[in-house]
């Protein structure tokens, strides 16, 4: 059962096979970027997201789905928690090896979250 909503949320998980972070998109597919993530604004939305997450976990596409609170800045979605911002962007180090890592202006972001 979904908790009462305080801010918009998206659904995230890790792919079962390669373990990588994914977000549930508006079209129902799982993508590595949160840009096109399905944004839940109401409790009904939340319940639907959770149901889809449970289904995807049962069908062994993903593991450990959960909701992440985000801030919708208009141009981008920004997870409220530091940990979730890191998951969305990839490591801020070893950039030569980690292609997903980009836009690591985490310090600046903190003003938004603070």
């Amino acid at each position: 059962m979904a908790k009462k909503i305080s801010g918009p949320r998206i659904l995230t998980a890790n792919l079962l096979g390669d373990g990588l972070v994914v977000f549930l998109g508006k079209d129902g597919s799982w993508a590595p970027s949160l840009e096109s993530a399905w944004l839940a604004h109401s409790n009904d939305d939340l319940e639907q997201l959770e149901a889809l997450g449970g289904e995807a976990a049962r069908s062994n596409t993903i593991v450990d789905p959960y909701l992440v609170e985000v801030e919708d800045t208009g141009s981008t979605l920004l997870p409220v928690e530091m940990r979730e911002r890191m998951r969305a962007r990839g490591p801020s180090v070893n950039l030569e090896f980690n292609s997903k890592s980009n836009g690591h202006a985490l310090v600046a972001d903190q003003a938004v979250a603070g």
Binding site: G17, D18, N60, M82, R83, R87, F97, K100
Partner: protein, 551 residues
């Protein structure tokens, strides 16, 4: 080095087959994640922040060149071309894919490696002084006993389900390079008054949210009685340890709650009762294990090598590297080469596959095929002829591995923190990089002298911050990272726990605070006094004043 016997080889290869089957069943959906999780953890496979992470054991930190080549091969073929050496003398891969893991484990088994006992509430991979068997002042090589304990603990069903994970470290030297006082059990080989070698036994050390220095429970125990005595320790723990509360379940809490004296009394009582401890090895078995650690084929060399001496005179950079990174060897004409994995601004403990291959080649050609991993996240070529030191240095330089900073301010320990770890509260690697760049000038580092900075990304303390002369702990408040500083910790034979100096610092100001602390030390030190000695003389006050006056 220890070689698998038939039993080990069968055991490991059966485990690989079993895991291959479990992965197939998981992918097909015959196993749920809840059912699969404990199985993958038993094989060293975690799900971290961004991906799976595989932790591969390097028992007592000893590798041969074939094994190092294999680690490099795995990094290339199944990961992103690099690996992270940890404070537990393991290597972690950050990006393995689940269907590949059985293949990775099979590759590891080919070179007698595995990922067993790197997770769970069992006796973990036993760690050892990285200079075991070669240190000039060593009483005896402790690794045969580490191997003995590995076999003993692997086979003991009773010890696979402990109240909590259990870590053992061994050293054969007076100088403690294995942080034994910070382990559940720490063992030091030493001689008694009669000149016989035995074990000094410490119990109940640990990091985490309740850091503790281990209590000495036995000043000297005959070597042959080791397993019997450990069995008594484990029984007292198993009977009394708190299984009800994860945070209180470590043996350190039991030792603390009972008091060292009462704990020791109970162990001795249990030990006296144990007339025939289970599974004690025969003398033959001990000899069989010890034979695997027999010294390699050293040559008969002179103390000094003219070519080497000339290079020292001719090349200042080389001489400085030798001074910091090369240590005396117990065999005449040989030296211990310490390879820093801490380039200024780099990621502590990381090595690329190219670097791993290069080190493996050097080990084969110039270190009698041996490599060691240190708990300070560096590597060692333990058997280098003085004659070859210059060639090794040049080769290391070519692979960006010749930083002459061993034990200096930029030889920082850092856990993966929030860049990789699912439990982290803050990032630790970028802070270590920032500090490393700030203090990176080698002249300044040499002037500062011995200094251990250690950083953890959460209270679990994988980065040993409690044992840092300067310790940094990353925390988080309302979505913002901040950093707490401790001073005066030490993980050596004078072990102590660092004390918090006051309110924490932001990610932008923590490096300034560290620099202020270092500058304060430079101002107040007496001639020849290290940072730790100065801190122990003057206490925290002058440092606090300096740091908080400017904030």
């Amino acid at each position: 080095m220890y070689r698998y016997d038939e039993f080990d080889a069968t055991f490991v290869s059966e485990r690989v087959d079993q895991f291959r089957d479990q992965v197939a069943r998981r992918v097909k959906g015959d196993l749920t994640e809840e059912q699969f999780r404990p199985l993958r953890l038993m094989n060293g496979l975690y799900l971290q922040l961004h991906a799976y992470m595989l932790r591969v054991a390097v028992p007592y930190g000893t590798l041969n060149s074939k094994q190092m080549h294999k680690l490099a091969y795995i990094a290339d073929k199944f990961d992103r071309g690099y690996g992270h050496f940890t404070t537990r003398q393991n290597i972690q891969y950050n990006w393995p894919k689940l269907p590949d893991v059985p293949d990775i484990l099979e590759h590891l088994a080919e070179v007698e490696m595995h990922a067993i006992q790197t997770s769970g509430n069992c006796i973990r991979n036993v760690t050892a002084d990285q200079w075991s068997g070669v240190a000039a002042d060593e009483v005896e090589d402790p690794r045969p006993y580490a191997e003995l304990m590995r076999q003993w603990s692997s086979l003991h069903p009773e010890f696979s389900f402990l109240p909590r994970k259990f870590k053992i470290a061994v050293t054969g030297d007076k100088a403690d390079r294995a942080a034994i006082a910070y382990h559940d059990i720490g063992l030091r080989l030493k001689k008694n008054a009669a000149g016989e070698v035995g074990f000094e036994i410490f119990v109940g050390g640990g990091m985490g949210r309740t850091p503790m220095i281990a209590a000495r429970v036995r000043d000297w125990l005959p070597k042959s009685e080791l397993l019997g005595y450990l069995e008594a320790v484990m029984r007292v723990y198993n009977l009394n340890g708190r299984r009800d509360n994860k945070y209180k379940a470590r043996i350190k809490i039991l030792v603390h709650e009972l008091g060292a004296e009462e704990f020791t009394r109970q162990v001795e009582e249990e030990y006296a009762r144990l007339d025939a401890p289970q599974g004690l090895p025969s003398d033959q078995e001990l000899e069989r294990i010890a034979a695997y650690f027999a010294p390699p084929a050293y040559e008969d060399l002179a103390e000094n090598d003219a070519v080497h001496t000339q290079h020292l005179v001719d090349n200042k950079d080389f001489a400085e590297w030798v001074e910091r990174n090369v240590a005396p060897h117990k065999i005449t004409g040989y030296a211990i080469v310490n390879i820093s994995l801490k380039p200024v601004g780099g990621v502590p403990g990381d090595a690329t596959s190219g670097q791993m291959h290069a080190i493996a080649d050097m080990a084969e050609k110039m270190s009698l095929d041996e490599i060691r991993v240190t708990h300070e996240q560096n590597l060692v070529l333990p058997n280098v002829r003085k004659h070859d030191l210059f060639a090794v240095w040049q080769e290391l330089k070519e692979h960006k591995l010749a930083d002459a900073n061993l034990g200096l301010a930029t030889d920082i320990i850092s856990c993966p923190g929030l860049d990789y770890c699912g439990l982290a509260t803050a990032r630790s690697i970028p802070i270590s990089q920032d500090i490393s760049i700030r203090l990176g000038d080698i002249k300044r580092q040499r002037d500062i002298g011995d200094l251990k900075i250690k950083i953890s990304g959460c209270i679990n303390a994988c980065g040993h911050h409690h044992a840092g002369h300067i310790g940094i702990l990353g925390l988080e408040k309302r979505g913002v990272e901040y950093y707490q500083i401790t001073l005066g910790g030490s993980g050596d034979e004078t072990a102590s726990i660092g004390q918090i100096i006051g309110p924490g610092f932001s990610s932008e100001t923590v490096t300034d605070a560290v620099e202020t602390i270092v500058d304060t030390y430079m101002d107040l030190r007496k001639s020849g006094e290290t940072f730790l000695e100065a801190y122990r003389r003057v206490g925290a006050e002058p440092f606090k004043e300096a740091v908080y006056a400017t904030h």
